[in-house]
């Protein structure tokens, strides 16, 4: 038992070790790396992908996949902006408008996730196909709403909303706090509640889950709803950053979120999820870009290539350890 326990720990520590290696590398390359400013910058930039990836950890653990999250974020952002701009004609209470916009975004995320889940379970269609479809739908909808251009939030509303992205509590930017909170809640739900066990059991074997009195459809729909809420949360933090949404908002976020989850040690085929690893994965992805920015050794244009290599290397390493264990 002790031997096995140690090996499992090793697996959990893997993404963290990679993170530390990257940080040492960053420090070696540029002294400015370890500055408080740069570190909070990295954390803040990781927040969107990190928050979405917490939700993706649930979906992927359950054996599903959600390709629609990037488009969904763009659509929610566009819809929130339109609603808030429209509310200006109803009330001049800017704070009320922002609160309404945020609530609307949250509900929209919940509904969008539910829709993905229902199509997958009731419709009996693979998650890959359903979310490929909704990905196209949301992307196209936001382009349509923006009439091919950009949707901009009213300046006055944005000035009230702005602190959600730019302000901080005791030096910690709000996006970082929200990421931390999401991660903690996600961790507790996945590891310490019956639902968390059920999600991973459904991912490991739907038959076994069904024969263990688990309502597998419900578990899956809820996983997609958690994903939807996480997307909404990320969007709520994102909107005040630029105050706009366009057809390129959230582009490729789905791939970054999935990459973060996989680097973190969650199995793509389901059955096993790690929130801590996911957060480490999101940070690793941001770090790569950040380090490339700080050095001239490798062109910044190769950011995607380095990320790609890291993803494949991470999975290769995990496979190696899995074999040792097996």
């Amino acid at each position: 038992m002790t031997l096995q326990g140690m090996k499992i720990d090793l697996k959990a520590v893997g993404p963290l070790a990679a993170l530390i290696v990257l940080m040492v590398l960053g420090t070696a390359i540029n002294d400015a790396f370890l500055s408080f400013g740069n570190l909070t910058n990295i954390l803040t930039r990781s927040a969107f992908i990190g928050i979405i990836a917490v939700g993706a950890t649930f979906v992927i653990s359950s054996g599903g996949i959600d390709l629609s999250v990037g488009s969904m974020a763009a659509f929610i952002a566009g819809a929130m902006i339109i609603v808030m701009n429209l509310l200006l004609g109803v009330t001049d209470q800017l704070l009320v408008i922002v609160v309404c916009g945020v609530a609307f975004g949250a509900v929209l995320g919940l509904v969008a996730g539910w829709l993905n889940g229902i199509l997958i379970t009731r419709g009996g269609i693979e998650a890959f196909i359903v979310t490929l479809g909704t990905m196209g739908v949301y992307r196209s909808l936001v382009t349509y709403l923006a009439d091919g251009g950009t949707l901009s939030l009213n300046f006055d509303v944005r000035s009230v909303y702005r602190p959600v992205y730019y302000d901080n509590l005791l030096g910690l930017p709000y996006p970082v706090l929200i990421l931390a909170l999401t991660a903690i809640v996600g961790y507790v739900v996945l590891n310490n509640t019956a639902y968390g066990r059920h999600v991973q059991s459904v991912g490991a074997s739907e038959d076994v889950a069904r024969y263990s009195a688990i309502n597998t459809d419900r578990v899956k729909v809820i996983a997609f709803m958690i994903q939807g809420v996480c997307v909404a949360l990320a969007t709520i933090v994102y909107v005040p950053r630029l105050g706009s949404a366009s057809s390129t908002t959230g582009l490729l976020w789905e791939l970054e979120a999935i990459a973060a989850v996989i680097i973190g040690g969650t199995l793509l085929k389901g059955g096993y999820g790690r929130i801590g690893g996911t957060i480490a994965g999101a940070l690793i992805l941001t770090l790569i870009g950040n380090i490339l920015n700080l050095t001239d050794a490798i062109s910044n244009y190769l950011n995607g290539a380095v990320q790609g290599v890291i993803i494949i290397a991470a999975v290769l390493l995990q496979r190696g350890m899995g074999r040792q264990q097996g």
């Binding site: 038992m1 310490n192 889950a209 024969y211 009195a213």
Partner: protein, 510 residues
Amino acid sequence: MASDPIAQDAPLLAARRITKSYGAVEVLHDVDFDVRPGEVHALLGENGAGKSTLVKILSGFVQPTTGSVLLGGQPVSFAQMREAEDAGIVLIHQDFNLAELRSVEENIFLGREITKGPFTDRTAMQARARELLDRLNCAVAVTARVRDLPVADKQMIEIAKATSRNASVLILDEPTAVLTKQETDTLFALLGRLKAAGVGIVYISHKLAEVELIADRITVLRDGEVIATVPAHSISQDDMARMMVGRELTDFYPHIAAPAEDAEVLLQVSELASGPEVLEASFALRRGEVLGFAGLQGAGRTALMEAIVGLRPVSRGRVELRGRPVSLRSLTEAKAAKLAYLTKDRKGKGLLLGSDLVRNFSLLALDKFATPFIDKRRERAAFHRAAKRFDLRAAGPAMKASSLSGGNQQKLLLAKVLEIEPEIIIIDEPTRGIDVGAKAQIYGFIANLIAQGCAVIVLSSELLELIGLSHRVAVMHAGRLTAILEGAAINEEEIMRHASGLTAAGASAA
């Protein structure tokens, strides 16, 4: 069927002084084993005795740590299974090795397709596949998709595949575990023909009656060592069991007192139908009763039970629990009604093989430990209690379920299901593929449940097990419950007569 092998015959395939260690664990110690042309050599042993490892070494799947494998007297070392197969040694695994989404014919010729020029010759392969299956009296269509077939047919396809290889040595690991009596008879007839053709057969089974019937020689393994290799006619089934277990087996089936005349009816099923599998079934189950269910593969026993517990829709009929009509739509509702169901598909539906023992144990009864956060200490304590109660032999709670032996997996499944403290327990194939020692323990657990005032339904394709355990035996044929046998009527002949539809009660004669 047993006949004396010609003792002087040189062995076709022999293992000499084989030792196999995995790390510090020695699973085989100095084992000698051989098979001669035209004989059935049975390999017996409890789970974990080393049978599977030995046949894997014989078929080139695993390399021995020390010792050698001789083929026709020459030492051989197969780098791959394929080489062993080319040399005429074919192993049929206990767990099937079939491409589920492909057709029967494609599976039989997988990796050895008949070709005409650069293309596969479908017609030739289909004709040959038909021929091979006909020899097994297996009517399955060669174009059928394997996934859609019942397990018995899958087993037949594996055997057809093996015979298509023109094997000189055929190794069968528990081939009859999923077969009915008739299918088993067909298989034995085929093995007889192969024997006559000079094929050497290594036969692993837990069914001692079969071994007695078919084997020429018997080798018993215990804890990785050969206890004895003897001519089959020289020992009885009791001897075999004793040699395997290394201790006396007192009365194999526990005495289970009959339920009182006025015992409460816990479960009453009336004219139940479900889909095409279950056409009509009515029966009652009393507190303190073991009700056996017999039937051929596809008779609808499993489907009936799954309809009762809410795993598949009921199309007609009534179910009453403790006198109250219910319609359970999910296993969750069954659980709340203290009704438990153990699937026969331990690996596919019963246990999460990649997860640890504790998680497997608590999965069904998880809400007991989650309020709403899982109390892991209480969960672990409950696991240890259950592990003790069911004599679960495992290295530790962090071990994966896949590393347990069949018997221990079954005990884990039992522990998992009984953790919800059910009153009615339905067990589908309680002892399939598990060793004699674990079998006796499982029977003991069933007796204990009855003593505690539960009622148990046992579905089994082993008639002796049904006869040994049940107070009454219900028999199903082609989706209908055709008879409920009591007292002296509970015997093999009577059960088979009803199961095969040869009675007036059966709607159509088979």
